[in-house]
Amino acid sequence: MADRLGVLPAYWALLRGQARSQVSYRTSFLVDLVGNVGATVFDVATVLVLFRLTRTLGGFPRAEAMVMVGLSAAAFATADLAVGNIERLRQYVRTGLLDAVLVRPLGALPQLLLMDLPLRKASRALFGVAVLVAAVLTAGIDWTPARVGLVVLAPVCGVVFFASIFVTTAALSFWWIDSGEVGSAFTYGGRDFTTYPVTVYSGWFRAVFAYVLGFGFVAYYPALALLGRADPLGLPVWAGWAAPAVALPAVLVAALAWRVGVRHYRSTGS
């Protein structure tokens, strides 16, 4: 156990090293930091543009829909910051970085994440949180201690959930070299899905994304619980609190996928 904890300073050192590396290019880092906000701003702006044409989307007025937007943006942007660069796994294999980290006495995944942490995306995460805060303050929520807890719990579980999706889809490229695009259907696609109320979607598509994959519990159900609205689709109120129950299996799947993927890599060398 002491040995396990003993690795923490090592990871902290890796993170500091990455921070120093990025900041060593001072001006271009600042430019990146500012520029990166644009992507998240735009996602949120899209929703506002849609609300120009209609008063409700999927049966929800703008103020309520923005709570979902906020939960989704905060969770996704933070996960993208923490784990997003794992998309580059294919590149790490090609340049030999994966081999280099396998030779060191630390776990491969934490090393890869910390060594390539995209600090410039921090601005996106901050913006996402800002949107969430603005949305929950203007949506007329009836605050209770439980709800205050939820507005923190839900995004955190969302981060874990999205991070798991990132890792799982990246691990796919151990078997399927050109799988990169498939992953983005679930990472960026998942982000798009959670931005809007689940009532917008229909049929088996909704069933798969919202319930089987669990995306509905990232933003939609927590938002309903915060707003005190009943689910038009029929799930009970406590569904809003089910976020951890969705995040946990996601983490297990991601850990398994990564383990099996690295094992496959070490067995086939490519």
Binding site: G35, T46, L53, L57, G58, Y201
Partner: protein, 266 residues
């Protein structure tokens, strides 16, 4: 001369046909995003009382699915061949070829687009037909106008990508221009929502003064038959003008770059 052009186009086609897995993966992703966007826009139409910014629900569905199909044909994102070659210095050998570099890349890109038309355009369109009520062109004049519009769109998008890549001749790090292009082109081309969702005082200047709407918005508006054929022809004419302007810009930039290369010795 024409035969050379055709030969390069053919090799562009063949090169991309080897990326079978990536094609499959891309088509899958296009389809998923098609579902996502389609549902959202249909919900907007429902909320707006049936018609959103002049589009009926079936027109919106066609808009989304043909849009996803065209995305890989025009190749809005993900092309940095030229920038890479500039970075490694391989671009010098392009100058030794008997074909003008811009035409060289254009021909190859048309080949690529041709391949994409067969493999990436069809799946999303079929998915749209299967799962949604899509508007099918009712006038016989629409398909030919649409075809011309798509070709022009490919040319314009190629030109824009070429220009963005060509900044590598002057800049050390093309990431900035690439980011701006990725960001701007998606928005302004009408990928996330039809540009008519925006107020007119934004849309009209965008359409006339920038090439972006001519890349996706125009062919899509043509195929959903939002307007009568004279207007469609007018929009395509705007495309043609932009295609010409962009190609001229590429030639000018290429000339400036070559002078710089020759003077600086690579």
């Amino acid at each position: 001369m024409f035969r050379t052009f055709a030969a390069i186009t053919g090799s562009g086609f063949r090169r991309y046909s080897t990326y079978r897995q990536a094609t499959l993966a891309g088509a899958f992703t296009n389809t998923v995003f098609g579902f996502l966007r389609c549902h959202v826009l249909l919900a907007v139409a429902t909320g707006a009382g049936g018609v959103a910014a002049g589009y009926t629900p079936d027109q919106l569905a066609t808009f989304v699915w043909v849009g996803q199909g065209l995305l890989a044909v025009v190749l809005l994102w993900g092309w940095n061949d030229l920038a890479e070659r500039i970075r490694t210095g391989d671009v010098a050998s392009d100058l030794l070829r008997p074909v003008h570099p811009v035409l060289n890349y254009l021909a190859a890109d048309l080949g690529r687009a041709g391949y994409a038309l067969l493999t990436r355009f069809v799946p999303p369109v079929v998915a749209g037909l299967l799962f949604f009520d899509v508007a099918i062109p009712s006038r016989w004049s629409t398909p030919p106008i649409f075809a011309i519009s798509v070709v022009l769109a490919v040319v314009i998008c190629f030109g824009c990508r070429y220009l963005v890549n060509a900044t590598a001749y002057w800049l050390h790090d093309v990431r900035g221009p690439m980011m701006i292009w990725t960001f701007g082109s998606g928005v302004l081309a009408g990928l996330y929502f039809p540009l008519h969702f925006l107020p007119d005082w934004v849309t009209v200047p965008l359409w006339l003064a920038t090439p972006f709407p001519s890349i996706l918005q125009t062919p899509l508006d043509v195929v959903v038959e939002r307007d009568d054929w004279p207007v469609q022809v007018g929009l395509v004419a705007v495309q043609a003008v932009w295609a010409g302007l962009i190609l001229l810009a590429c030639r000018a930039v290429q000339g400036a770059a070559e002078r710089r290369l020759v003077v600086q010795g690579g």
